[in-house]
Symmetry: C2
Subunit: 330 residues, 2 copies
Amino acid sequence: MTNPPKAVIAIHGGAGTISRSSQGSAMQEAAYHQALNGILLAGQQLLSEGGSALDAVSLAVDLLEECPRFNAGYGAVFTHEATHELDAAIMDGATLRAGAVACVSRIRRPLRAARAVMERSEHVLLVGTGAEAFAEDCGLEMVDPTFFSTEVRRAQLAHALQADRMMMDHDGASLTFRTKDLMPAPLDESRKLGTVGAVALDVHGNLAAATSTGGMTNKRCGRVGDTPLIGAGTYADNRTAAISCTGTGEMFIRGVVAYDICARMAYGGQSLDVAAQEVVMKSLAAIGGRGGLIALDALGRSSCPFNTEGMYRGHARVGEVVHTAIFLED
Amino acid sequence: MTNPPKAVIAIHGGAGTISRSSQGSAMQEAAYHQALNGILLAGQQLLSEGGSALDAVSLAVDLLEECPRFNAGYGAVFTHEATHELDAAIMDGATLRAGAVACVSRIRRPLRAARAVMERSEHVLLVGTGAEAFAEDCGLEMVDPTFFSTEVRRAQLAHALQADRMMMDHDGASLTFRTKDLMPAPLDESRKLGTVGAVALDVHGNLAAATSTGGMTNKRCGRVGDTPLIGAGTYADNRTAAISCTGTGEMFIRGVVAYDICARMAYGGQSLDVAAQEVVMKSLAAIGGRGGLIALDALGRSSCPFNTEGMYRGHARVGEVVHTAIFLED
């Protein structure tokens, strides 16, 4: 692919395996495609008007956080203590500036707090109540922690506590017994790796990446995954690529997955796609890591490898038709 | 240098500029050399008896945490709120397993908690009260947060609050007016970057790295620097190197400094020393980062570049004389 540099945005809404139940799948699939499509159209519009990559990923993750289908912001999963702990990060490929928050439960839009850390503090990562105090000082919207709760996620926690095991997201199949109007999602929610993210290239040639998550249902309080860690779940550098990951966070941390792709390009001369494929299919798989990522290089070439059966994803180039996908063959 | 693989340990106790006052410097220098020497001897002894790199770095950082001269564990600096928030991380180069804690104030030995996260949880990073609850569950020694407080550090906070600026460590010069028995340290404490760390190679050919810190005097609560972030301040991989960093944490995060050295070796074919020098003197300097690091490769070759005037450091090879240093020419 040798496209000329053209503004483009790519997003993801988590990776996982195919749902065991096929009941209602077609309708649910369509609903996910529609949600992804709407968010990509908004990002595409912003980029087409000359907006920055930083603003495009901020907008897309804002919208993903507010959509309860995805495990970030409103609709985030519950911790073991029936609380929410949200993580988010953003990085500017032009300056290598970055900002992140972790373990916050009162900031309505965690990604906006991450951006405030980047733009309005000397720091990169703020966690817990310190991060919340900073966000409040910045005038960001604060909410009661119950704001993020949905009945669907509460039922998932009950199920996880019963199963006494860590769940990466929620068990949609079991929920069909509890919530009549809930049909199984296309990806098996009991094994879905829940995160949302966006990467973008703007007309000025700048790259940016952003990621946000509610973590894992029934997770231990204080657990921080790869999402808010610069280099692990999120990275952007105009010289190489912008990357946002989703998967078994601990393995992404150990492999420094996002930065590893940039390093392979910078020092090994690999193309974006070769680097991304090797990291997800080989390095990550070698330590038992499951999940995927979305990536864009400085020429707008994209790659979105995943070693699960599916990943909610899509991309939109300015002036072209929006593309959304869930399974490998999509 | 083409030494045959031989067990070796290297440690650091922070980087900074030369003290503006020369009063008492010789005695203070000798005291720092003595502290570093004693810790290296303990690590060397452990390695000479066939102990693991993981145990060697654990022991060395344990001792550095307990020594009030260094900003980690007992003698850690104060936050803006006159509390302590400690961070630590450890990584095993043989398995790429890693563990870390951040923003903890009740765990006597934060590095031991990081190792427990690695060995006794499914996670890599636990923060705040969740990390403390985990450490307590593991039977680690818990203390009242005031345990870490020393009069010297309290005076530093008062000075920092008065100066109304973030200080990387403490102002030894000003303290001579407050504490009669305190002589200025060899490195200017007002601009010292306070962290401790260790890297080791054992007789089995395994590498390990560990880092621990109290962060910055007068820091915002909830701020997390590079120390507990795998890939930023700490990394170990038997295929390349073990690295522990100290410096302006935010820049080390943005540059993914520790992992960048491994990546340059793995993908660019650089030697440890070339990689370490380029990262500290070029990449890090390009974004305004100040500090240094200690690194060992799988053959036991060492590198300890810093772009400040000095760095408390030393190394000990089994069967050889211990070497300690503070300034560039040491």
